[in-house]
């Protein structure tokens, strides 16, 4: 079974040379730590930077330089700043190659819910609806089950949707799956996790090939 860093490490393998990538808050942010050194990747943060670098040293902290999670960051050589409308132009116009974000629920049709729990939590969707509404390649990073132990991979989402039929791949602490023809397709098992365990933790319909390899990290 993977921890949050393990999930991020596995997703980092999906990041290819030359990609512009938008990372959501939480596990997705960790992906940047695991991208291979020998490829060129630019990270976009939707509040208005392309070419986001690591967190600053104490003496580099600048209140005018933050990421979408409001954390202080640095800009890499070759970075650029832009306004919010242009930032979402990059996203809506499909100039960003890969979007990685968290979710509370994903359905076997690729629907995603991650912005609201009615009566409990209403923080807002931020840029998530724009991202999932336009990105061609969306990877969801999340735990396979919620804190109560219930599956987050469902036949249909119970929470208010963020987007419909948009998720292409899901990486959890148990497995890598893709959304294919209205079903989850199991691609890889996390180290030490059996197909049976994944089946038990997945409420939605799942296609299980004869051979499901263990993830290589």
């Amino acid at each position: 079974m993977l921890d949050k860093n393990g999930i991020a490490q596995r997703i980092a393998k999906e990041v290819k040379d030359g990609y512009y990538v938008n990372l959501g808050i939480g596990i997705p942010t960790l992906v940047a730590n695991f991208v291979r050194d020998d490829i060129e990747v630019e990270f976009q943060s939707e509040n208005g930077i392309l070419g986001m670098g690591p967190f600053p040293l104490e003496n580099e902290v600048d209140p005018d330089l933050i990421n979408a999670g409001k954390q202080t960051i640095t800009a890499r050589p070759g970075a650029s700043f832009f306004d919010s409308a242009m930032s979402f132009g990059m996203i809506r116009g499909q100039h960003v190659d890969l979007t990685i974000l968290g979710a509370m629920e994903v359905s076997q049709d690729g629907d995603i819910a991650n912005w609201k729990i009615p009566g409990k939590m209403v923080k807002g969707m931020g840029g998530a609806m724009d991202l999932v509404g336009s990105a061609e390649h969306i990877i969801v990073a999340m735990m396979h089950t919620n804190k109560a132990g219930a599956s987050k991979l469902l036949k249909s989402c119970s929470l208010p949707l963020t987007g419909v039929k948009c998720v292409t791949k899901i990486v959890t602490n148990l497995a890598v799956l893709e959304v294919a023809n209205g079903k989850f397709k199991l691609l890889e098992r996390a180290p030490g996790v059996s197909v049976e365990e994944i089946k038990n933790a997945t409420e939605g319909e799942m296609l299980v090939p004869n051979d499901v390899p263990e993830m290589q990290l």
Partner: protein, 231 residues
């Protein structure tokens, strides 16, 4: 040169009244119009609608207006950092319209550019799309969104000249340029107000035509929400 410079926030906010709609730049607490917000608090205007990506924190930014119950309605994309906001929303004291961040930015830009409405895929199939026109383009459904209408835009820039030309710094730029000229009156506060000719026209982000009033801000706190450092 057309006169745009005003002495201070008090002069800049002349004409601000109860029941108006305001646009406020900033992402989180980065790039917010600190001086104009303080003046809104001082004037104690009530029942206002605020278009702003976030709602500040409990004791800074728009949180200051929330504390004094000056806000009737918020139009935002993310409001997660403010306990008083949550309390007022859940108790029904505060109306809240949560909309996708890119749609918020584009509705500002559309207002600035004289475009009454546009189509976007963001929010299709969700509660955001309820009651909105849906139209298919290139085989993909989009929803129609309208340009905002606002009375005042409160913008923060890094440098500006007396002609109203503006330069922003880092990610404090965010929604600020999109709100310039998107309201009836655009009020800009800057960290450094300079004479015409001192800004290189090649590096101006927003031309002065979008700005009605500009003033030298003071005492910037620039509070950081998530100070995150590496060793």
């Amino acid at each position: 040169m057309i006169k745009k410079v005003v002495a201070n926030a008090t002069e800049a906010l002349e004409g601000v009244e109860d029941d108006m709609t305001f646009m406020l730049g900033g992402f989180g607490l980065s790039g917010i119009a600190e001086n104009s917000i303080a003046e809104l608090v001082r004037r104690n205007v009530k029942n206002v609608t605020c278009i702003s990506n976030n709602a500040g924190v409990d004791d800074f930014g728009l949180g200051l207006l929330l504390q004094k119950k000056q806000i009737k309605k918020m139009i935002s994309s993310y409001v997660g950092e403010n306990a008083e906001f949550e309390r007022q929303m859940l108790s029904g004291e505060l109306e809240v319209d949560l909309i996708p961040q890119g749609t918020l930015a584009e509705r500002c830009r559309a207002a600035q550019n004289g475009i009454p409405a546009f189509y976007t895929p963001a929010g299709y199939g969700t509660e955001v799309a309820e009651g909105k026109e849906v139209r298919e383009f290139n085989g993909k459904p989009h929803i129609m969104e309208h340009a905002f209408k606002a009375d005042f835009a409160f913008v923060k820039a890094w440098k500006g000249d007396e002609a109203g030309n503006l330069i922003f710094k880092g990610t404090a730029r965010n929604f600020n340029p999109n709100m310039c000229g998107a309201a009836k009156i655009t009020v800009v506060e800057v960290e450094e107000l300079v004479k015409p000719g001192e800004l290189d026209p090649n590096f101006v982000h927003i031309p002065g035509i979008f700005v009605q009033r500009i003033y030298q801000g003071k005492n910037y706190e620039k509070r950081i929400e998530q100070r995150t450092v590496r060793k």
